[in-house]
């Protein structure tokens, strides 16, 4: 027995304002003052230039003993704070991701791999020397040296280092559970793995760079919003720059410091300063749900999804169907039918088989669960589509109705049609009909029922309120599919789905302008996952599916997609709300600063000083301070996102307009007045 090293489990969640994160964020805020960094954000870049210029004026005041050094210092300092607060917001948003990345880097220790060459000889090589296509052997207790697919064997694997889930998972060759991730540990058995990623391109590497945000690109909506903000900045730049000659005409020349203060107050610094933090925090919230988004674009697209494709099995229904009814054929005793059904299912280990045993026992069949002596089990195969038991020459079979009918005919029987109406009734109600036969006789029908996952109906209801259409994907026939779709409350269904029909459906939806989201795990799903606007692959799925998708759910929970959609919507709402708030703030700032600027030339303008601010200097300074502090005050909102309840667009809009639009007009009047009162009380102006 190999001694088990304790595996560090990836911490899933951490507080936003963890002290380590905050300390690091404060340092980063200063590093981000680098103009090359600021230049990416036109609004904050203007503020930084303003800070430099006002600082220059302050130094000139000191050296030349002219001007108002105290006032200029205060303005310069608060402008710097404005930039720093915005940097801090971004740094905090990045904080959790950076902490995660640090942890993942520690996981990425170099190991020795057992490489198998063509002759089957094993050589020890460092994991960094492995290339795509190499075959490695991994034994119990070993770390899997690279991403790959299991080509031989099956093993239980501890993936907690990546997923944070401590329960081990089974990985086996063939099928949809063949993918293994480098850095996870095999707990039992031995597997052969074909490496699918070169060093530096592994899932872990991608995960590190994603959570860290190193390659973060602006998303399309972020770019559009930046253009709007840049446009507004130019408009206000024109308004303030022309105010200089206007004030010369009015005989009240303004200092550059005052003009810069006005400019910074008017340009949309609140949203400008928080914009990138909102985007990073959105991706971070997705990560908190244990979903790895390959780009911010994918999260944003999730908010726009119009059509959600959901696999029936595992998402809408529990994976297993249960027998609820055994219907005897005409002239067959019900007890007899139950008994035969029972016997045929004793060795059947599938959940369906076990549910038949349980149902038969409930209806009074005695039995100890042991096959009678001399009986042999005939397992289910995709070819025969039936399973059963042979006892001393008597053959019992249960399976798909058409398969059983053919089998009975082959045995020389002439099955009647009396059960066909029952079979149809079961299918129509959403169940799966099985027929039960013994030699030449059809004995009865078994009704297997899909069991809906609890609370899915309400979720679909919520999705509908959000304007998202749900389409159930199933291999069932249209009758069954229609019945389950109706019971679950999905809007539409695709029956007898094949990878091709699924792809067609996606293309058709996209053709009419809709955005499509889907989940998948199998290699068959890969093309559809790639075609969908939002494709979520299950971590348990194949490597191909994970590569095609733009998100990977580490918990492998297909219903997670719904939460991702909500996060996407929340992300867009937060941007809209803060933009509205930021623009609405300008009304109050005009009323604070304009009368102050012309207090000497036109004392009558004090009528416009509706906030009754104490002095012109205090008015300007209060507006600048409010403008800086509001960024700090809104960081939690930017990081957590505005409250989201799934409702129709008009209800959401009405509420947000009231809070962020009307609130955005009123809040600064109160805030600036309070700051002015404090400044006056402290005799700071």
């Amino acid at each position: 027995m190999i001694p088990q090293r304790r595996i560090e489990r990836r911490p899933k969640s951490r507080s936003l304002f963890d002290s380590a994160i905050v300390t690091r964020a404060i340092l980063d805020s200063f590093k981000k003052l680098d103009p090359r960094w600021q230049a990416r954000n036109p609004v904050m870049f203007v503020v930084e230039i303003g800070s430099v210029v006002t600082s220059g004026f302050f130094i000139y005041d000191l050296v030349s003993h002219t001007g108002h050094p105290g006032f200029d210092f205060a303005i310069a300092a608060w402008l710097w704070f404005t930039v720093l607060f915005a940097n801090f917001a971004e740094a905090v948003a990045e904080g959790r991701g950076k902490a995660q990345a640090d942890y993942l880097r520690r996981t990425k220790s170099d190991t020795t791999a057992k490489k198998v060459d063509e002759q089957g000889r094993i050589s020890q090589v460092p994991s960094t020397a492995l290339r795509k296509g190499d075959i490695v052997q991994v034994d119990a207790g070993d770390l899997i040296p690279a991403d790959g697919d299991v080509i031989k064997g099956a093993a239980s694997v501890d993936e907690s280092a990546i997923t944070g889930e401590s329960a081990p998972v089974i990985r086996e060759s063939g099928g949809d559970r063949s993918a293994v991730t480098g850095g996870t540990r095999v707990l039992s058995d031995q597997i052969m793995v074909r490496v699918s990623a070169n060093p530096g391109e592994s899932f872990l590497d991608r995960m590190i760079s994603l959570v860290e945000g190193a390659q973060r690109q602006k998303t399309p909506n972020e770019i559009a919003l930046s253009i709007l903000l840049a446009g507004l900045t130019i408009i206000f730049l024109i308004a303030v720059a022309t105010l200089a000659p206007f004030s010369i005409y009015a005989g009240s020349k303004q200092t550059l410091v005052v003009l810069i203060a006005l400019l910074v107050c008017l340009i949309p610094t609140t949203i400008g300063g928080l914009l990138s933090a909102i985007g990073i925090a959105g991706m971070d919230r997705v990560m908190q749900r244990n979903v790895l988004a390959m780009s911010g674009r994918a999260v944003e697209a999730a908010g726009d999804v119009d059509t959600l494709l959901l696999d029936k099995t595992g998402t809408i229904t529990l994976g297993n169907r249960q027998a609820v009814e055994i219907i005897p054929a005409a002239g067959i005793d019900a007890k007899d039918a139950s008994r035969v059904a029972y016997v045929s299912s004793i060795p059947d280990e599938t959940p369906e088989g076990r549910s038949i045993v349980a149902l038969a026992q409930r209806s009074g069949v005695d039995g100890d669960g042991e096959l009678p002596a001399g009986a042999t089990f005939v397992p289910f195969s995709a070819y025969t589509r039936m399973s059963g038991v042979d006892i001393n020459g008597t053959k019992i079979r249960k399976g798909a109705p058409d398969a059983i009918l053919n089998w009975v005919r082959e045995n020389g029987g002439a099955p009647g049609t009396e059960l066909s109406s029952e079979v149809e009734r079961i299918a129509r109600s959403g169940g799966t009909p099985l027929l039960l036969a013994r030699d030449k006789m059809v004995l009865g029908a078994i009704h297997l029922k899909d069991i809906l996952k609890p609370s899915m109906t309400e979720r679909f209801e919520r999705l509908r309120a959000m304007g998202i259409r749900t389409v159930m994907i199933t291999g069932d026939n249209p009758l069954t599919a229609a019945a389950i779709a109706k019971e679950a409350g999905v809007d539409d269904f695709l029956a007898e789905a094949t990878p091709e029909t699924k792809m067609e459906l996606i293309k058709r939806e996209q053709g009419s302008g809709r955005l499509v989201a889907m989940t998948g795990d199998g290699t068959n799903d890969a093309p559809a996952l790639a075609q969908a606007d939002v494709g979520v692959a299950m971590n348990s799925g194949t490597q191909a599916a994970k590569e095609a998708a733009n998100m990977v759910d580490l918990d492998s929970d297909p219903t997670k997609l719904i939460e991702v959609v909500e996060i996407g919507k929340q992300l867009l709402m937060t941007r809209g709300a803060l933009t509205t708030f930021s623009i609405a703030n300008d009304v109050a700032k005009y009323f604070a600063i304009l009368p102050a600027m012309f207090a000497t030339a036109y004392p009558v303008m004090n009528v416009l000083n509706v906030m009754r601010l104490s002095t012109p200097q205090s008015a300007i300074l209060s507006a600048v301070i409010f403008n800086a502090l509001i960024i700090i005050a809104l960081i939690p909102l930017a990081l957590k996102g505005v409250r989201y309840r799934p409702r129709g667009a008009s209800a959401v809009l009405r509420e947000n307009v009231l809070i962020y639009g009307v609130g955005g007009i009123i809040a600064p009047f109160i805030g600036i007045k309070l700051i002015d009162l404090i400044l006056a009380a402290l005799h700071l102006t």
């Binding site: 909506n221 709007l228 867009l572 304009l594 009558v604």
Partner: protein, 566 residues
């Protein structure tokens, strides 16, 4: 403010309102190339024009094809008018033997009419021959208005079409608009004005002896025909310097009401045209509602300010509203109403001197224009400028419902925001920057007749009016080389710097797919959207000008209250 005054305003509004649907619907048919009841008359004419000009009216144009057609057409029209102004002395129909116009003034005037501005740095009755008035100015009154409507139609098609590359055919839009919309209304309107007493002749000016025994020159000419299109096409350039204050251009209270109706009716009707062409008339009514709210809000202020009068004059014992610069025949209410109508659209015709309004009364026309001529706006231009604000509003507020903002099913993304922003940038840039230059250089102050905040308002108003292609004058500012050139340039860019991004946006939207409306869609016809649209217009459009307005009319008003005048 009086009940009678408000009754006039409400009658005017109701008269406009009842025509929104029938006229809008008719214009939609015309612009969609459908058959109308006037087709039997005009289809043959249309065919002849296409045949003679070699236009294939079925050819679809891309957005830049459309743009080149507009620019080329305008450039040729400009050149034609410029040459006419510079050679009228040698041409027929010049009974008063007026000389050729000076080059800088001719440039200013040609640009002014080509851009639907009709800013006038000259007096028509003492400068222009009948030929220039008819073949030069009236021509542009028709085609510049038709070009505006054509551009609006191109944008509407961009919104309505999906996965399309083209926006229609400019030549067909231009010719159909002239023939089916402008011409029939003008013919009927001209006869109504003649009936009211507006001259329509080719005779030289008549010298008569007045009742007081003085000798007086009465102007004549083809006035009624030009008057009607002056209003209908929101052009505003008067035949005579007195514009609609003069008893020839605006003889009776009925003609006053009729002319205001002409100014508003197409701009208002186009909202319905838009709704019909995008197959959702609620969209059009939402715009009409937003326009009407802004219209009445402005009217309340200007009527109240003029009705309240001048405190300095009240001190002298004269009660009542402000009558300075107003035609006694019309009085305070009709003058305030007209001032609001002419600046809520891009008309610029006047029936009173805005310069003589009270400070706050003068602020209203100024702000109306600073909003970018979007209350009803110029014919066509009002609608497309308004739609730029709609797109901006959709983008800002639409995010709040948690989706990439959509406008009539089309996603508003980088390109759309860029073009809308560019077109909105034009107004602050072209109003504030030239004003800033003018107030600090000697050439800018040389022809200014007032000082202090009032003088400032005069300069600000000139650049606001020319940029907005309004053309109404505050007065008090004389022409010189500096203003001829700067206001001319301003009119040119005010029109075309806005048109180019509008067409680019139309092209971008046309190429998009439209997502069907669902419960998650942000609707652009709800009352809350109307409120948001107005909010965006006021905060983005108006607040930009608050510092400038504060140093002009606002501070002047505050100082007037203390008894200071300028």
């Amino acid at each position: 403010m009086t009940t009678v005054g408000w009754t006039q305003a409400i009658i005017l509004f109701l008269l406009v309102l009842v025509f929104v649907k029938p006229l809008g619907s008719y214009m939609a048919s015309v612009l969609s190339g459908e058959r109308t009841w006037l087709s039997p008359v005009f289809v043959p004419v249309e065919r002849v024009i296409y045949r003679l000009s070699g236009v294939d009216e079925t050819e679809e144009m891309t957005w830049y094809g459309y743009m080149f057609a507009v620019l080329a057409f305008s450039a040729v029209g400009f050149a034609f008018l410029y040459v006419l102004l510079r050679t009228q002395q040698w041409l027929p129909l010049n009974p008063q033997h007026f000389p050729n116009m000076a080059p800088d003034l001719a440039w200013n005037t040609a640009v002014s009419f080509m851009t639907n501005t009709n800013w006038q740095f000259y007096s028509g009755e003492s400068t222009l021959s009948y030929l220039t008035q008819m073949a030069g100015l009236a021509w542009h009154n028709f085609v510049s208005a038709a070009a505006g409507i054509a551009l609006a139609a191109a944008l509407i098609r961009g919104i309505a079409r999906t996965s399309a590359k083209s926006l229609g055919n400019f030549w067909a839009d231009l010719i159909r608009t002239c023939l089916y919309i402008l011409l029939p209304i003008s013919i009927v309107g001209c006869l109504i004005l003649v009936m009211q007493g507006t001259p329509q002749n080719f005779q030289p000016y008549q010298t008569v002896k007045s009742v007081e025994g003085f000798s007086q020159t009465l102007t004549g000419g083809p006035m009624a025909s030009q008057e009607v299109i002056k209003e209908l096409g929101t052009n505003g350039g008067g035949f005579v310097n007195g514009n609609s204050t003069s008893p020839n251009e605006n003889p009776t209270p009925f003609s006053d009401l009729f002319e205001m109706w002409l100014i508003l009716v197409i701009g208002a009707g186009l909202t319905y045209t838009y709704g019909k062409m995008v197959k959702d008339t609620r969209q059009g009514w939402a715009l009409f509602t937003a326009m009407s709210i802004l219209f009445f809000a402005a009217l309340i202020v200007v009527y109240w300010a003029e009705g309240a009068g001048n405190p300095a004059i009240h001190h002298l014992g004269v009660a009542g509203g402000n009558m300075e610069g107003k035609e006694v025949r019309f009085g305070v209410a009709a003058s305030a109403l007209w001032a609001n109508v002419t600046t809520a659209t891009s008309c610029g015709a006047v029936n009173a001197w805005h310069d003589s309004f009270t400070a706050l009364g003068g602020l209203v026309p100024l702000v109306n224009m600073q909003l970018g001529e979007i209350i009803f706006g110029g014919v066509g231009s009002g609608l497309y400028a308004k739609l730029m604000f709609v797109i901006l509003t959709v983008f800002i507020a639409g995010l709040m419902v948690g989706r990439t903002p959509e406008f009539l099913g089309k996603k508003i993304e980088r390109r759309e925001v860029t073009f809308a922003m560019l077109s909105i940038l034009v107004t602050p840039l072209l109003v504030l920057v030239p004003t800033a230059v003018a107030v600090v250089i000697p050439a800018g102050l040389a022809t200014l007749s007032n000082n202090g905040p009032h003088g400032f308002s005069e300069i600000l108003y000139a650049f606001t009016s020319t940029n907005a292609n309004n053309g109404s004058a505050f007065g008090g500012l004389g022409p010189n080389l500096f203003y001829n050139i700067t206001t001319g340039t301003n009119m040119l860019f005010g029109r075309f710097a806005e048109v180019i991004p509008v067409l680019a946006l139309a092209g971008a939207l046309a190429g998009k797919k439209a997502v069907p409306e669902g419960p998650g869609t942000f609707t652009t016809y709800s009352p809350i959207f109307v409120a948001l649209l107005i909010g965006t217009i006021l905060i983005v459009g108006a607040l930009t000008f608050l510092p400038a307005d504060a140093l002009g009319p606002i501070v002047e008003h505050l100082l007037n209250l203390q008894g200071k005048t300028f």
